[in-house]
C-alpha cells in the first residue's frame, strides 16, 4: 500500500520545464529522500504536492485519493504537512503562536465562538495550547515558547517550522532542506528527531543536500536532474549509480 503516489507530474515556468513527468511512490512509515543538484526541481515538486503551485499535468494520490491542485489548506487538513526551504515563520509572533497556526486545522471554533469565548471555545483553546506546547517540547523548543520567532537562531527556526508542521497532526511530513544552516550538533539532533517522527508513525519525505544525512536516514531515495527523475532506490544503490555520480560530479562545488 502506498501513502503518496506521484505520477507523470509536470510543471513549467514560461519556457523552463522545472518538473518533467516525474513519478515516484512513498510507502507508509518510511523516510524517503528527494535529492538532486540545485535547480533540479525538488522544491517545485514539494510545492506541487502541497498545492502551492498548480500542476500542468500529472496525478498525485494521497491515501488513494487524488489531491492534485487542491487548495493548500485542504491538502494540509488531509494529513500532509510541510516546511519551507527559505524559512517562512511568522517572524513577529511568538514560537508558541507559530505552532498554534499548525493547530488551526485541528480546531473548529468560528467567528461567533471567538467573539464570545463560549465554553467550547475555551476548552478547545486550552487543548490547543497543550498540544502546541507538546509539539514544541517534541522538537526541544518548549523553553523558547514565548520568544519571538525572529529572535531564534537559524537552527531553532528550522526546528520551529517542523513543530508547526507537526501540530497539524500529519501522516506525511515533507521537509525542504531541514538541515540547511544548521551546525553539526543541530544536524545530529535533527537525525534523532526524524527517527522520533518515524516512531510516531509519521512518514517523512525530505529534500537534503547533506549526503551523509540522507544516506543515514533514508530508506529510499529519488534523484532528480533537470526536472526529470534519473534514479530511484535504496541508499547503497544510489551511491553507486553511474548516472547519479555523473549528475553530482558536475556541480560538486555548488554544495
Amino acid at each position: 500500500m502506498k501513502l503518496l503516489s506521484v505520477s507523470r507530474l509536470t510543471k513549467s515556468f514560461g519556457g523552463l520545464t522545472a518538473v518533467n513527468s516525474v513519478s515516484f511512490d512513498v510507502q507508509p512509515d518510511t523516510v524517503v529522500g528527494l535529492i538532486g543538484p540545485n535547480g533540479a526541481g525538488k522544491t517545485t515538486v514539494f510545492n506541487l504536492i502541497t498545492g502551492i503551485y498548480r500542476a500542468d499535468q500529472g496525478e498525485i494520490l494521497f491515501k488513494d485519493q487524488s489531491i492534485v491542485n487542491f487548495p493548500t489548506h485542504r491538502i494540509i487538513s488531509q494529513g500532509i504537512a510541510r516546511t519551507f526551504q527559505t524559512i517562512r515563520l511568522f517572524q513577529n509572533l511568538s514560537a508558541l503562536e507559530n505552532v498554534l497556526a499548525g493547530c488551526h486545522s485541528q480546531m473548529k471554533s468560528g467567528v461567533l465562538g471567538s467573539l464570545f469565548h463560549t465554553p467550547r471555545q475555551r476548552r478547545e483553546e486550552k487543548m490547543a495550547l497543550e498540544e502546541a506546547m507538546e509539539a514544541l517540547a517534541f522538537v526541544g523548543l518548549d523553553s523558547n515558547a514565548l520568544q519571538m520567532a525572529r529572535n531564534l537562531s537559524y537552527g531553532k527556526q528550522r526546528l520551529l517550522e517542523i513543530a508547526r508542521a507537526l501540530a497539524t497532526k500529519p501522516s506525511l511530513i515533507i521537509l525542504d532542506e531541514p538541515a540547511g544552516g544548521m551546525n553539526e550538533h543541530e544536524t545530529w539532533q535533527l537525525v534523532a528527531l526524524i527517527g522520533k517522527m518515524k516512531e510516531r508513525g509519521i512518514t517523512v519525505l525530505l529534500i537534503e543536500h547533506d549526503m551523509s544525512l540522507v544516506m543515514r536516514v533514508c530508506e529510499n531515495i529519488v534523484v532528480l536532474e533537470y526536472g526529470s527523475k534519473i534514479a530511484e532506490g535504496p541508499p547503497q544503490e544510489i551511491k553507486t549509480d553511474p548516472r547519479v555520480i555523473q549528475a553530482y560530479l558536475g556541480v560538486e562545488e555548488d554544495d
Partner: protein
C-alpha cells in the same frame, strides 16, 4: 499585576463616566465624534490592522448601515436602535457580495477596488438609487432613539450610548484577538503562503475579516444616523475612508488602545487647532507625515499576546 490593570481600568471607566458632566455640549459632541470614529477605526482595524488588507473604502460599509437605519426607520417607523442588528447584517452582506469576487486581488489592486466601491456607493446614493436614498439631500426625519423609555436628544445622552457601544466593541474585539479567528488573521498578515502551508484557508479568512469589519461599521452607521437624524452622501466619501484608515495606521495597526488614541488625535487635534482657522488642515497634514516618520509603527503598536502556559512547563509564567 492583574490588580494594577484592574485599577487602571476602573479609573478610566470612572473618568469616562463623569467626563461629560464637566464639559459644555460642544465638547461633549466632539467626544461623541471621537467615539464614533474610534469604533469605526476598531472595525477597520480587523481588516487593515489584523489581516493586512488594504481597504480604503470603509466608509461604504458605514454608509450601508446608516442608510439601512434611515430608510427602515423613516419608511416603516421601526425604532431606530432596534435596527442595529439589521444594519450590521446589511453592511456585512454587502461586504460579502462585493468582496467575494475581488478577494484574491493583491495589495494595491485591492486598495483601488475598495476606493472604487466607495465611490460607486456614494454616486448611487446621490443618484437616489431605487428611489430610496433621497439623492444628494439625503434622508431626514430619522427618529430620535429611545432607550428604556427615555428619548435621547442631547449630546450627553448620546455620549453614554456611544460609550456603551464602544465598551462592548472593545470587550468583544479583545476576545477576538485571543482566539483561533484572531490569530488566523495575523498569520495571514505576516505571511500568506506560510499561513496556507499551516492549513489555514486564507481566502475564507480574508472574506471573514471584511464581513466582521463591515458588520461593525454598519452598526456604527445606525448610531450615527440616530444621532444626526439626517444623513446625506457627503458623510460617506472617500475622504471619510481616508480618515478612518489614518486613525488605524497612525494609532497603531492591530492595537485597540492605539486605534482609540488615533481617533482622539485625528478627530480631536483639528478641534484644538481651530484658532489656526484655514491653516489647521495644513498643520494636520504635516503632523501626519511627521508622526509616521517618528513613529513608524504607529503611536501604540500591537503588543504580543500573553499566554498562561499549561502547568509543569518551564518559563510558563508568561508575559509581564
Amino acid at each position: 499585576m492583574i490588580q494594577y490593570k484592574t485599577i487602571a481600568l476602573i479609573i478610566t471607566t470612572g473618568i469616562l463616566a463623569v467626563l461629560p458632566q464637566f464639559l459644555n455640549p460642544y465638547w461633549v459632541d466632539v467626544l461623541n465624534n471621537i467615539g464614533i470614529y474610534a469604533i469605526l477605526g476598531l472595525s477597520l482595524n480587523i481588516i487593515v490592522g489584523h489581516t493586512g488588507l488594504f481597504n480604503l473604502g470603509h466608509a461604504s460599509f458605514f454608509a450601508v448601515g446608516a442608510y439601512t437605519a434611515a430608510i427602515l426607520n423613516t419608511q416603516y417607523e421601526i425604532p431606530v436602535l432596534w435596527l442595529i442588528p439589521v444594519c450590521g447584517l446589511s453592511a456585512g452582506l454587502f461586504a460579502l457580495i462585493v468582496a467575494r469576487p475581488i478577494i484574491h486581488l493583491r495589495g494595491d489592486y485591492l486598495c483601488i477596488v475598495t476606493i472604487g466601491v466607495n465611490e460607486i456607493v456614494r454616486i448611487a446614493l446621490i443618484n437616489n438609487v431605487f428611489g430610496l436614498t433621497g439623492g444628494s439631500n439625503g434622508i431626514f426625519g430619522i427618529d430620535r432613539p429611545n432607550v428604556f423609555g427615555m428619548t435621547l436628544r442631547t449630546p450627553m445622552e448620546f455620549y453614554y450610548l456611544i460609550l456603551a457601544f464602544g465598551a462592548v466593541t472593545i470587550f468583544l474585539f479583545r476576545q477576538l484577538e485571543y482566539s483561533r479567528f484572531g490569530r488566523a488573521l495575523n498569520y495571514l498578515r505576516e505571511d500568506e503562503t506560510a499561513a496556507q502551508g499551516s492549513g489555514i484557508n486564507t481566502a475564507h479568512y480574508k472574506l471573514a475579516a471584511f464581513v466582521v469589519g463591515a458588520v461593525w461599521a454598519g452598526m456604527v452607521g445606525n448610531i450615527y444616523a440616530a444621532k444626526m437624524t439626517i444623513i446625506s452622501p457627503e458623510s460617506f466619501t472617500f475622504w471619510e475612508s481616508v480618515i478612518i484608515f489614518v486613525i488605524v495606521i497612525l494609532g497603531g495597526s492591530g492595537s485597540i488602545p492605539g486605534v482609540i488614541l488615533g481617533a482622539v488625535l485625528v478627530v480631536g487635534l483639528p478641534e484644538l487647532f481651530r484658532d489656526l482657522a484655514n491653516a489647521r488642515m495644513l498643520v494636520f497634514g504635516a503632523a501626519m507625515v511627521g508622526m509616521m516618520i517618528f513613529r513608524t509603527q504607529g503611536l501604540l503598536p500591537q503588543r504580543p499576546r500573553k499566554y498562561t502556559l499549561p502547568q509543569g512547563r518551564r518559563n510558563g509564567e508568561g508575559g509581564e
